[in-house]
């Protein structure tokens, strides 16, 4: 790195899209050798701001000073030349190429016009050494874990003379172990003089990794402070514009009668290679959390309960009757509903209307002899629109894609209300949902349980467990390692049980 520390400062940045201004004069400073956390709900303007810094968008007004160069706007190549690199949430690597090839992706060193594979390997070895990471340079990137692939992308940026690295929610798809490893690299890069801008939703990460924090709300800077001098509550209220208070236990914790038949039961359940010996009960009226890290088996248990996968051993019972679902429709017919982890990929019909999205699993019951009118769908949508507080135009034909993430999730939850499912299996129900909408989804889930539905929530978010669950099972390496009752469900206890 060079002698003078890298300095980026943005002043009075304004940007609008189609007549709607989303940034109203924002200031931002990033310095080499420090980590800046950029916080904000969805729609606060974080992505727009960093895309301006990376040259993807041109600001309508404002001044950028980067490493001494003053600019009113940047092109992507200019931003690159100034040493700015972005690591997006979604991986932008070439999965079939090797680690070494990916590190030099797009700028392979050549000798007399031909790619020099020796130089490719050498460069990769150097940067991997610099990061202090153990990676097989010849392995195809597609065979690595998400966390490792992210590190490859960081290595690529680093080998390309990165002086300012923007990380967009890098831990969203990582287990806490992988996240810790990522933090180590972030600190190492910081110590090497790189300026880091770290975008995140997770407040505990800010404390752990950042030196300074900037909170954006509705296109304005709502808070700027050293992380040492700011409380969690201050950050939350800056983000949402009001105080949300502590992570609180629900007040209406449900105690099922001792001799009741559970609505959903697993006994000695196993799925080869994923989990083993899992026993769990969920009673009507109860929210049971299945807490564990990515890869602990929580998502797989949930998938088995819905027929996405089949148990390789053990028993599953619904209302005391043994069940074996071959496919999701068997589970739906038996009264089970399911909210998948990845809304975009597994849940939503983005280009279809909100009414169709909500009614899809209920098309059978809503139809007469296979015939179905849009009216009946619209009626079904209106039934839950208010109840779930879905913020949209009052138009059942509105496309799902035009709703915010939280409201999309409410529509998908509404599916199973309309279907009158008796057992609801939710996987990461608030992933990618902002803080405000999160509370509303929790309220909706609690209300569902109060109406007698049995809810199983598979989640890797311990705050979610604390706020949502009547009981919690902790999973690690495919086994249930602890079962916690009401008062035992605390963030401390959960992190302790799940292990370091």
């Amino acid at each position: 790195m060079s002698d003078t520390p890298f300095q980026l400062s943005a002043r009075g940045i304004r940007k609008g899209f189609g007549g709607v201004e989303v940034l109203h004069g924002v200031d931002l400073d990033a310095t080499g050798g420090s980590v800046l956390a950029l916080l904000g709900e969805n729609g606060a303007g974080k992505s727009t701001l960093v895309k301006i810094i990376a040259g993807d968008y041109q600001p309508d007004d404002g001044l950028l000073t980067i490493a001494g160069a003053q600019r009113t706007s940047l092109t992507p190549p200019q931003a690159r030349d100034l040493g700015i690199r972005m690591i997006f949430q979604e991986l932008a690597d070439a999965p079939t190429l090797t680690v070494a090839e990916n590190i030099s992706l797009g700028r392979w060193p050549t000798r007399r016009g031909l790619v020099s594979w020796r130089a490719v390997k050498r460069r990769a070895a150097e940067v991997v050494e610099q990061l202090g990471v153990d990676l097989d340079l010849d392995a195809p990137v597609g065979s690595l874990s998400v966390g490792e692939r992210q590190i490859v992308e960081i290595a690529r940026a680093l080998s390309d003379r990165a002086r300012c690295l923007v990380l967009d929610e890098p831990t969203a798809a990582l287990s806490s172990q992988e996240a810790q490893r990522l933090f180590t690299f972030v600190r190492r890069l910081r110590d090497q003089g790189v300026a880091l801008i770290y975008i995140t939703h997770r407040l505990d990460e800010v404390r752990e990794i950042a030196d300074r924090v900037v909170v954006l709300r509705d296109g304005n800077v709502a808070l700027e402070a050293d992380t040492g001098s700011v409380t969690r509550e201050q950050m939350v209220s800056a983000m949402v514009g009001r105080s949300l208070g502590e992570v609180r236990r629900p007040v209406d914790v449900h105690q099922p009668p001792v001799d009741a038949t559970p609505a959903l039961r697993f006994d000695g359940a196993a799925l080869a290679g994923e989990f083993d010996g899992v026993a769990l009960d969920v009673h009507g009226g109860e929210v049971v959390a299945l807490y564990g890290k990515l890869g602990s088996g929580i998502a797989e248990v949930a998938e088995c309960a819905f027929g996405v996968r089949r148990l390789s051993a053990g028993r599953m019972e619904l209302d005391g009757k043994a069940m074996s679902f071959r496919q999701p429709w068997d589970a739906i017919a038996a009264g089970v509903g399911f909210l998948p982890a990845d809304r975009q990929r597994e849940g939503a019909f983005m280009v279809r209307s909100v009414a169709e999205n909500l009614a899809a699993p209920s098309w059978g019951p809503l139809s007469r002899r296979g015939f179905l009118t849009a009216d009946r769908e619209a009626t079904a949508y209106r039934r839950w629109h208010k109840e779930l507080n879905i913020r949209s135009r009052d138009d059942p034909r509105q496309l799902l894609a035009t709703l915010s993430g939280g409201n999309q999730q409410k529509v998908l939850l509404g599916r199973w209300l309309e279907r009158q499912s008796k057992v609801l299996v939710l996987v990461e129900p608030t992933r990618g949902v902002d803080v405000g909408a999160r509370q509303e989804i929790y309220r909706a889930i609690r209300a569902l349980a109060a109406s007698g539905v049995a809810v199983l929530v598979a989640t890797s978010d311990y705050e979610e467990v604390v706020q949502l669950a009547d009981r919690a099972l902790v999973m690690g390496r495919g086994r249930v390692v602890a079962e916690l009752a009401d008062q035992e469900i605390t963030t401390q206890r959960l992190t302790q049980e799940v292990g370091g």
């Binding site: 895309k51 998948p340 899809a360 949209s392």
Partner: protein
């Protein structure tokens, strides 16, 4: 395959305006309220006006019927093709299947009578549909490759059966040439009935809805309880069935089964469907759009013929139209995500 990639592609392009800004309650943006079909209607009118000025023979009832008759064969096949494309699927084998069913019909009818010939053609169409459906839904082969394979295989098989000859067929002219109502040829009536049936099927049935859902997101469709494999299989069967119907009409019109009957038909069909607004990414498209797409192609061909333009230019026009339609689809996709 197509649809899944298309969906993630659209998701990745999510810009700040759509991805970040929380939508405010209110009315849909003005541009979004213009029906998808509007540009097509304008194009059709423009072509109509142009040809009406250029040729004295264009604007009369008989020529109008000519246009519809020319669109009938492709139209009967384009209806199930719209259904398939909406579900993110393709059937390129339709032209070859039409040839095969026609030849089968003439061959069997010659030996066992007309009724047997008709049954053979229908079974032949269903067989091709079943093969395509099985390969796509059970084996999991990409529909483009699957139907490219059956395209090659069945036109070859047709030539084997016919020994490369055109098979004559007498006494079967009624279906293709009779004019039972207002002098309207029966193929046109069949075509419009098929369009009507698919209109209802796609708009007002669970089956139709399910096809849109599968096209929009096949993974989500399965998790919403739709039997995606079975539904797609049925759609391929429908495609085969209606190809057989079109083949019967074609044979009846010509009084013979030619081994070149369906050459290039898949191009006309796909062009009409895409021109009609069905998205290659799946999940969007209507049968009315396809109807207008068919009419644009038919009017263009008819007008060019009336103006005595060399018929090879019609191929150029059709190919250009397909590329324009697909480009338009891409632009619209980007625009739809942007707003």
């Amino acid at each position: 395959m197509m649809s899944a990639e298309g969906a993630t592609e659209a998701g990745r392009q999510a810009p700040p305006a759509g991805g970040e800004a929380v939508p405010t309650p209110g009315r849909a943006p003005l541009l979004a309220r213009i029906p998808d079909i509007a540009p097509l209607v304008v194009l059709l009118l423009a072509l109509g006006i142009f040809f009406a000025i250029k040729s004295p023979f264009f604007l009369n009832y008989d020529n109008f019927l000519n246009v519809l008759t020319a669109a009938a064969i492709a139209g009967i096949i384009a209806a199930p093709a719209t259904l398939l494309l909406v579900a993110g699927q393709f059937d390129l084998s339709v032209g070859s299947a039409l040839t095969f069913c026609g030849v089968l019909m003439a061959y069997v009818a010659d030996k066992h009578g007309l009724a047997a010939g008709i049954v053979a053609a229908i079974l032949g169409g269903l067989l091709i549909g079943a093969i395509n459906g099985t390969l796509v839904t059970v084996v999991g082969v990409n529909p483009l490759i699957t139907t490219l394979g059956t395209l090659a295989a069945f036109v070859g098989l047709a030539r084997v059966i016919a020994d490369g000859q055109t098979l004559p067929l007498n006494g079967f002219g009624g279906l293709g040439t009779s004019r039972p109502l207002f002098n309207i040829p029966l193929p046109v009536i069949v075509f419009l009935v098929v369009v009507g049936v698919f209109y209802v099927l796609m708009r007002y049935t669970v089956f139709g809805r399910a096809m849109y859902a599968i096209g929009a997101n096949p993974v989500a469709a399965r998790l919403a309880g739709l039997r995606t494999g079975r539904l797609l299989f049925i759609s391929f069967l429908l495609s085969g069935l209606f190809v057989a119907l079109a083949a019967l009409i074609n044979v009846s019109q010509l009084g013979a089964a030619s081994t070149n009957a369906g050459n290039g038909l898949e191009l006309s069909v796909i062009t009409a469907v895409v021109l009609g607004g069905a998205s290659l990414a799946g999940g969007r498209g209507t049968i009315i759009g396809t109807l207008f797409g068919l009419l644009v192609i038919a009017v263009l061909n008819n007008g060019l013929t009336l103006l005595s333009v060399n018929s090879f230019w019609q191929d150029v026009a059709r190919g250009t139209l397909l590329i324009l339609a697909v480009s338009f689809d891409q632009l619209r996709l980007r625009f739809a995500v942007d707003t």
